[in-house]
Amino acid sequence: MIIKHLFKLFILLFIFSCHNETHISKIEGKRIEINADIASDTAIENFIKPYRENVNKNLDSIISYAPETYSKTDGELNTAIGNLMADAVFEESNPVFKQRTGKNIDLVLLNHGGIRSIISKGNVTTRTAFEVMPFENSVVVVAMKGEQVLDMMQYLAQAKRAHPVSNHLQLELGKDFEISSATLNGKPIDKDAIYHVATNDYLYNGGDRMTFFHPNDSLYVLDYKIRNVLIDYFKKKDTINPKRDNRFIKLED
């Protein structure tokens, strides 16, 4: 009996060790749409369910309250939602940066296009943070010359958009969008000094044609996602209260 099996095995091995000469005679190719006409597999569906419920429970957990609806189109050069984001990046990342380097962040710059959703009046949830910031971008701090900070001011003046900046900056434009005054923490920008500017890795790498971050003295990668900044910020505020203010304005004559 054993011999018989060994013989079978031998023959099988023998067959598969030979190259079986075949050729492709016909190929048929198509795509099949996955839509509601196809029933869901119950086992898969049941497997996903607890994950989905947990994610939704988490995303829908209330972490703050918004007394108004805030949109990035609320103002010409600064908006409540943009100010909130830039100030949140400072408030949440400066302690991390200071602990690591002993230095403070002098200014935060984000981009207007990076505000991906409104914050609606009512409860603020984790989902709100995912909607406002669906991308994975993280905070970086760039040590750059005042000269480049001045280039940044030129960029902001020419862009004429409400790119979010933190409340450390006071940038005033004249009626033709020329810079009439630019101060950081109440002082003029010194072109030879080194400033620590926090932004996100997308902008640092030239997103929105922000080329002024290069060259630079050093780059500090905080490994802190902007979305997590927002979540942490919201969790600390019972009610958010962002305001449009005078940090970046055009003077009317």
């Binding site: 190929i27 190719g29 839509n35």
Partner: protein
């Protein structure tokens, strides 16, 4: 071995095994059919799109894909299920579970192989490595050298699968990471020229390993209209030989049907990509006949 002798031996073997009650179909005269199913750039889209979505309302969904794959497998057990990368990133499932659910579900659907896309590095190469225990399928990538990373030995350049006696060689290709992915994420992963690697791979699989079917699982992108010289699936097809099928990804190209392209030897190559988010399943059926091809112009292709 001389062919005639071979036929005699195999006939004898069939007869013998037949007596033993073990019919060996693979040496019968009939046609064999191998079905290749594929997805790409699913990007953590586990649930179908909601009814209010502007473009993809009520489309997609892993649980539906499972039903479809199972029904195709029932029809033809000689089926492979492949994914061309960017499994990760795109819904909160990834943010919450880091890819665990994606890998677990692909394992439940019995995926055979996947290649690695740029977004699969989104939690760093360590984040990808951490999810490997959840994947029962294997990864292939021939042009990423992972030797100096945690992924070393966990990714093979190619894999040979045998279905119904048909030897199927599948190799993987990944997109250039520099400029696309933060270096801190991919660390010491070394990218090599996909075309040179593919030339090597197809030779190994076809000539050395004697594969009957050679498939490239690619995440290099279908074609770049604004940079036509950039390495892409179309350029890869033209610059190589001995590849039968390129399954693509990265560019989220929704091909209504597979593209037929001529390779460097003037033979047909099929390229297919099914866009993104699990909205479609690609299905390519290969029919095999024993012996040498009768016609010199290759297989008939119906797309």
């Amino acid at each position: 071995m001389k062919r005639r002798q071979f036929i005699q031996q195999s006939t004898a073997a069939t007869a013998l095994l037949g007596l033993g009650g073990l019919g060996l179909q693979s040496f019968g005269p009939e046609t064999k059919k191998i079905t290749i199913l594929h997805t790409n750039d699913v990007h953590s889209h586990i649930d179908p799109f909601g009814p209010d979505h502007e473009r993809n309302a009520n489309k997609g969904g892993v649980a539906r894909r499972a039903t479809l794959v199972e029904s195709i497998r029932k029809e033809n057990p000689n089926t492979l299920l492949l994914d061309a990368g960017d499994i990760f990133q795109g819904t909160p499932y990834f943010n919450y579970y880091g890819g665990e659910l994606e890998f677990k579900l692909m394992s439940m659907l019995d995926y055979d192989l996947a290649t690695i896309g740029n977004h699969d590095f989104d939690n760093g190469i360590d984040g990808l490595y951490a999810q490997l225990p959840h994947a029962k399928f294997e990864f292939v990538s021939a042009n990423y050298d992972f030797s100096n990373t945690v992924m070393d030995t966990h990714v093979k350049p190619y894999k040979i699968l045998v279905k119904d006696g048909i030897k199927i060689g599948v190799f993987g290709l990944g997109v250039q990471l520099e400029g696309l992915v933060d270096k801190n994420m991919y660390k010491e992963t070394v990218y090599q020229n996909p075309i040179e690697v593919a030339q090597d791979m197809s030779r190994i699989l076809r000539e050395e390993q004697k594969c009957d079917l050679v498939i490239c699982l690619s995440h290099i992108g279908y074609y770049y209209r604004n940079r036509p010289e950039r390495v892409s699936d179309l350029n890869l097809a033209r610059a190589t030989k001995d590849i039968d099928l390129i399954i693509g990804g990265h560019t989220h190209t929704f091909l209504p049907k597979p593209t037929i392209e001529k390779n460097s030897a003037g033979k047909n190559v099929l390229i297919n990509q099914v866009g993104a988010y699990g909205l479609y399943l690609g299905k390519i059926d290969f029919y095999f006949e024993p012996g040498e091809p009768v016609k010199s112009d290759g297989a008939s292709i119906i797309v």
